[in-house]
Amino acid sequence: MIQDLMEKIVDILGNTYYGDVRSEKIYSTGVGKNKSEESISTGSSCGLCVRVISDNKWYYLGFDTINEEKILDEIQKLVERVEKKKSSIWLQDPWELDKEIFVKEDPEKISVEERMSTIREIFNQTMANKKIVNADVGMANAKRETIFMNTEGSKLRQVLPSFKFAISVTSKEGKKLEGDYFVLAKQGGYELFRQINMEKEIDDVVKSAIAMLDAKQIQGGRYDIIVDPEISGVIAHESFGHGLEADQVMRDRSYLTQLKGKKIISDLVSIHDNSTLAGEKGTFFFDNEGIRSRDNLLVDRGILKQFMHDRQSCMLMQSEPTGNARAQDFSRKVFVRMTNTYISPGDWTLKELIEDTKSGYYLIKNLTGMEDPLGGNMQMSTHRAMGIKNGELTGLFKGVGISGKVLEFLNNVDAVTNDFDIRGGGCGKGHEDYVSVSSGGPHMRVRDAVIG
């Protein structure tokens, strides 16, 4: 039992100021098809991460081979080397938890034959139009077990299931190539797949990819824009949220450092980071430092309420822990990371919002986004846009980038709709350390935004 080894490790770590050990086990299956290839792949992995803090410096050891003698020997050597030196770190009473999220329908109980046959059927439907030259259709499921113990005496275990289904299509006409995609990524099982209105989703991506072949280019400049829930979410996460990760504040690298308690953006905008949101990709019971998950209200009607923390930053910034310490896997450092980040809905309907807009663009679907924690600048690219003239949607345009300062952008929000959608995906800190997150929100209208 891995728990027996972990208890022995914690005994050795008892000679440090603080130490913890985390075991991870992941099992995953993917089924996919494109024009040339069918694939069914399975993967399993395990790993053990041991952390010790001494004199405010973290020491990590990572193992993927469970050789008890070697592991205990390496840890003993590390503990003797780093000694027991005081560090500024949040310490709390021990707690215990053993919780698994059970899915309604386990994908592993559906034969791979059946899953492959379903994927083939969807692929064939997607390829029915002659202008669609290729499609990638796939589903994947994974289960991740984390066991955590530390020198406080906490003993925690959680098992989190995830499911993803995606279609991406490529349309072609002469030399012109375009595309579109549909993705569903959440915590759960095969029941999520059954809930998809497949006919509609296939029809939507196929029609959109073909229509994009005739989409026009927007002339770059400043315009009033409406962004969809997916783009709202990425703004909340990528452009705004990374500056609220408290490790960036400790590095003197956040544009938000001095702004806690101040009104920084439109009072129509409230932003949460909520790791307790049922069924979403960024949801868990405890983070990678053994801190309980919670709903953190980051911005309340335009006022900056709090940063997101790990055990070190909350002590140094005299705050409570927020449960945002996360690592990609056993081999990587734990950083302050977001979970499920979203903007709260408002009062408008989308119809009212479009009717109320004299001139501008409605931006649809996000492609990429990159953070700028120090500068607070935006870098996002979107899939497509619709023109708006006198309250009506007009022609189709190719995707555009969004640029400018995120605080100015969010301050220029003058209407927020009452709908809400959230999408699962992954997030890096820069170009590394991938963790599961989701982001979302309502539609928002932003005046005088820089796009191009």
Binding site: S41, S45, G62, K333, Q379, G430
Partner: protein
């Protein structure tokens, strides 16, 4: 572990290949000019492909007999359940000699990381804040074995530096945030740090560029992200077979100044190795020669599908989140090796001197063009105006908007030196500076 996996695989499968990888990773991280994290990680695992009608795949890092057996059975089942393919595993060939190891990293990565960090802390000027830093080495061994008797071993090293350098001038705080990979430590000399510090200083007085159509000069790493993402996507056998490429052999697609090679042998290139991840020798494959599209690159699967031979381009690398350890967990895919752009005939200094008005982009926030369409719209994170042949005011913000296929037809000049570089979207390149005419900039 190797013998156990081979003997178990032989028991259950007739046609197979096994990819074994083990990696030692050493890392130090810094926060505000102080070490705050030291780490050593050992990782090893195996990926197994089985041909039984279809081609199946399964991978694991769990070394118990039971886990190995289950991984093999999963690969067999996946082969049986997927459609029948025309495929055979390659035979052993003669392999080229390549240079991919830094002796400073091999077997002593922890020392190498410590030494570099010490040097780095000495080098950074007092008025620059090293907000955070990551220095990491990978010491890697791979072994590809298959049922055709192929058994090849390779070793390589890699080195990563990511820094946030912050300068405060008259209350304006600006950052330069490089994130670079190399095979050898010496390929990221301390002179690079000086350059990064200078750019950070310049950013404190940077202005947003104005909206105009103008000549834009791309630095080696931005060129890699721009051209590498799009050309890389269209130049594979997979793109040809799946009809998602817009190029064909013999077609003039770019200015005659442009020559691109997928170079798997470039000394100390980040994708350089004797053999690809299927055990086939890597090569130098001309992609674009004087503006004309020359060849598609192939892995074994797409080569056989297209009735040709693999060019040694079955590689286990991903975009954005690069793989150094853990490659065994993914199947080889058809992709370019080192993206080599042939140098031009003017020095960098002359290239600048010949420009009356232009923008030089040293770094985008993230240049990530749509690989299918070639469209992009990216924010300038660090750049300069070039005026009357000289580097002039620093600029920041605003968007550069364009299409890679259109841009490569309008090349003004290519500098005469191509350097090893890494991008934020494409890992491995050897690229020069290139100036492109008539590019749209959206700013003030």
């Amino acid at each position: 572990m190797k013998e156990e996996i081979i003997s178990q695989t032989k028991k259950f499968a007739k046609d197979y290949d096994i990819y074994l990888q083990s990696t030692e990773v050493n890392e130090i991280q810094l926060e505000k000019n102080r070490v705050n994290f030291v780490s050593k990680t050992f990782e090893s695992g195996y990926g197994i492909r089985v041909l039984k009608g279809g081609l199946g795949f399964s991978a694991s890092n769990v070394k118990s007999d039971e886990a190995i057996k289950q991984t093999i059975l999963n690969a067999i089942k996946s082969a049986e359940m997927t459609e029948k393919v025309k495929f055979e595993f390659p035979r052993q060939e003669k392999y080229p000699e390549v240079e991919a190891i830094d002796k400073k990293i091999k077997n002593k990565g922890d020392e190498a990381v410590r030494d570099y960090v010490e040097q780095l802390l000495n080098e950074i000027p007092k008025d620059v804040l090293l907000s955070f830093g990551k220095v990491r080495t990978y010491d890697n061994s791979t072994n590809v074995i298959n049922s055709e008797g192929l058994d090849v071993r390779g070793e390589d090293t890699s080195f990563m530096v990511e820094l946030s350098l912050i300068v405060n001038k008259n209350g304006v705080r600006m950052e330069f945030w490089p994130h670079e990979y190399r095979r050898r430590i010496q390929d990221l000399p301390m002179s690079e740090i000086d350059k990064w510090v200078r750019i950070a200083h310049d950013q404190t007085i940077a202005k947003e560029p104005k909206t105009e159509k103008t000549t834009v000069v791309f630095s080696p790493s931005t060129l890699l992200d721009g051209l590498g993402t799009v050309i890389g996507s269209h130049a594979t056998g997979a793109a040809k077979v799946n009809d998602v490429t817009r190029v064909s052999i013999g077609e003039k697609i770019a200015s005659e100044k442009l020559t691109i090679i997928s170079d798997g042998l470039y000394p100390y290139g980040l994708m350089t190795s004797e053999f690809d991840d299927e055990g086939i020798p890597q090569k130098r494959i001309p992609i674009v020669d004087s503006g004309v599209f020359k060849e598609f690159v192939y892995d074994q699967f797409y080569a056989l599908k297209d009735n040709t031979k693999s060019t040694g381009n079955g590689l286990r690398q991903s975009d954005v989140f690069y793989l150094f350890d853990g490659k065994y967990g993914v199947e080889p895919a058809n992709q370019l090796s080192n993206f080599y752009v042939k140098p031009g005939d003017v020095s960098y200094e002359d290239l600048i001197e010949d420009i009356s008005h232009s923008i030089l982009v040293e770094q985008f926030s993230w240049l990530n063009p749509d690989p299918v369409t070639g469209n992009f719209s990216s924010e300038i994170r660090a750049g300069y105006y070039i005026k009357n042949g000289e580097i002039s005011e620093p600029i920041k913000g605003g968007l550069v908007i364009g299409n890679v296929f259109d841009m490569i037809k309008k090349i003004d000049a290519i500098s005469d030196k191509s350097v090893i570089t890494s991008g934020g979207n494409v890992l491995a390149g050897v690229c020069p500076y290139i100036s492109f005419k008539d590019v749209q900039v959206a700013g003030k």
